[in-house]
């Protein structure tokens, strides 16, 4: 039988499919090709290419924008694993640039300064898949409705403090559990409360999980942090400032990779946590001038 060679690109299946392939892995923020190689050597499943890690964006202030395409291309050339990059919330022209230079995933990120106060990017217009942050189930489902193929907790980027990521993950997974118990009539109430499309609410209620993978980001600094959020229901972790703001990035990167895979093996997490040197300093949330997690809606 002869089959037509019809190839279809940019389907939701291939977009969320790449996120599926990253599950159980660690995605690391890198600002140079050398960082990217360290990340790949350590076993990262992907890297996030950017000019400044969130801790530096926080410290230096000013408007944070999409990174220089030349920097992203240099990182792409240095590694064989997928390369992600960030666009500002609502800045579809930055996203178009990232698609044009062939990044594998676009992060519409609250870590950058938002470009639109009303609308996120219409992600259905792109062939390249998007990941978006969320602090609760309603926000996650609104992003999925806009075309996001992967959701991550926002956490509080650049702080090295896991508390916000835990709050976001717990909020999302607790609401999924409660929604799974709702009867059909109650689901309409859920859709109204969550401000999310009823179709997606039905899907979560029926399957007991988001329609796309749920990863954790924002504040992961140690192997035990990774083990914690994986046990709380994250399917993979993003580590931003936590690796390259630590004393021994290569060892810490490898340790976080191991702890993410063997998250339920405390003896192994203990083993890889030994003698890693200082973690990034970290910040109490009360010390912060601005909460990045409040960006986006």
């Amino acid at each position: 039988m002869t089959t037509e060679a019809t190839r279809v690109t940019g389907t939701f299946t291939v977009k969320r499919g790449l996120a599926d392939m990253l599950r159980g892995g660690v995605i690391m923020d890198v600002v140079t090709a050398e960082h990217a190689k360290v990340a790949e050597d350590a076993g990262a499943v992907a890297v996030m290419a950017l000019e400044r890690v969130p801790a530096d964006i926080r410290r230096e202030g000013g408007v944070a924008r999409m990174s220089d395409p030349a920097l992203i291309e240099g990182i792409k050339a240095a590694v064989t694993i997928p390369v992600m990059a960030k666009a500002r919330i609502g800045h579809f022209a930055e996203a178009q640039v990232l698609e044009a230079i062939g990044v594998d995933y676009i992060d519409e990120s609250e870590v950058l300064t938002p470009a639109d106060e009303a609308y996120h990017i219409d992600k259905w217009q792109f062939t390249t898949p998007f990941v978006c942050g969320a602090t609760n189930l309603g926000e996650a489902l609104r992003r999925i409705a806009e075309g996001a193929a992967l959701i991550r907790s926002k956490g509080e980027a650049g702080t090295g403090n896991i508390v916000e990521a835990v709050r976001h993950l717990r909020s999302i997974t607790a609401d999924i559990r409660a929604l799974s118990q709702a009867d059909r009539a109650e689901r309409f109430g859920w859709a109204k409360r969550l401000q999310a499309p009823i179709g997606l609410v039905e899907e979560v209620a029926n399957n007991g999980r988001l329609p796309v993978p749920l990863f954790c980001a924002g504040g992961i600094a140690t192997p035990a942090d990774a083990a914690l959020v994986m046990q709380l229901g994250a399917e993979a972790v993003f580590v931003g400032s936590g690796i390259f703001k630590s004393e021994d990035p290569a060892r810490r990167a490898r340790a976080i990779v191991e702890a993410t895979t063997h998250y339920d093996d405390a003896a192994l997490v203990a083993k890889v946590s030994r003698g890693l040197g200082a973690a990034m300093r970290g910040q109490e949330l009360a010390e912060l001038d601005e909460r990045l997690a409040t960006r986006g809606w």
Binding site: M1, V8, T9, V14, D20, T80, V103
Partner: protein, 236 residues
């Protein structure tokens, strides 16, 4: 059905483990997630899932699983590798990292990310005549999902091509088998078509009863020239 009692291991270091598990359990197999060497015992088959092959390679070493999996394959236990799993099984990997280890159990030359970046990832229908003949089904196309997929650029004489992708008039192999090793460049676990996993479970079911699985049950299509690799696009 013999399949109902099959115990299938899924390498669970990283990747789309859950999807393989759902498919195999739906087909009646019992699944065990494998993260440690002692979890490789008493398996009727092993799945190497999709994921990042560089990451899997690192974690296979650090978890002490590499030798165990290699031994299992050498001992004749059926193994299914999808996408990154296929890269791990290939004899030669192009565009990989120089230190990337593979089991070398499938006499193929495989190129990583051969179709381009994620924007070039695609869905397509495959010729599945050989699979349908083996499963006793009417001949119908196989839907397949390719995500940053590897390409099989050459196959050795002992390798059967079970499915191929039509590409500019040429037929490119995307599913291969050599004795107990079954591999796909695509992700059968991401579609609702169960034929690839059924072929694999049939291999697992006959493991130990007929020795080398698959050999002799299929016409040796394309097997020619002792020792020489067939360049894809020339010999098909």
């Amino acid at each position: 059905m013999r399949e109902s009692s099959l115990s299938i291991g899924i390498l669970a270091l990283q990747g789309d483990v859950r999807e393989h598990r759902l498919v195999l359990e739906e087909l009646g197999a019992t699944c065990r997630l494998v993260r440690k060497p002692d979890e490789l015992r008493d398996l009727d088959g092993l799945v190497l899932p999709g994921g990042e092959s560089t990451t899997l390679s690192v974690l296979l070493e650090s978890s002490g699983l590499f030798e165990g999996v290699a031994g299992l394959i050498a001992g004749g236990t059926p193994v299914l590798g999808t996408c990154a799993g296929m890269v791990l099984l290939a004899r030669e990997v192009l565009d990989g990292r120089p230190d990337q280890r593979s089991f070398g159990a499938l006499d193929c030359v495989v190129r990583r990310n051969a179709y381009g970046r994620q924007a070039d990832s695609f869905e397509a229908l495959l010729d599945a005549t050989t699979i349908d003949a083996e499963l006793g089904e009417r001949d119908h196309p196989l839907p397949a999902v390719f995500i940053r997929a590897p390409a099989i650029e050459a196959v050795g004489p002992g390798v059967e091509v079970l499915a191929s992708l039509r590409n500019d008039g040429a037929s490119v192999p995307v599913m291969c088998r050599q004795a107990n090793v079954l591999a796909t460049a695509f992700h059968p676990e991401l579609t609702s078509d169960r034929r690839v996993h059924r072929v694999f479970l049939a291999m697992a079911a006959s493991h130990g009863t007929i020795g080398q699985v698959g050999v002799g049950r299929l016409s040796d299509t394309g097997v020619q020239g002792a020792g020489a690799l067939r360049k894809v696009g020339e010999a098909i």
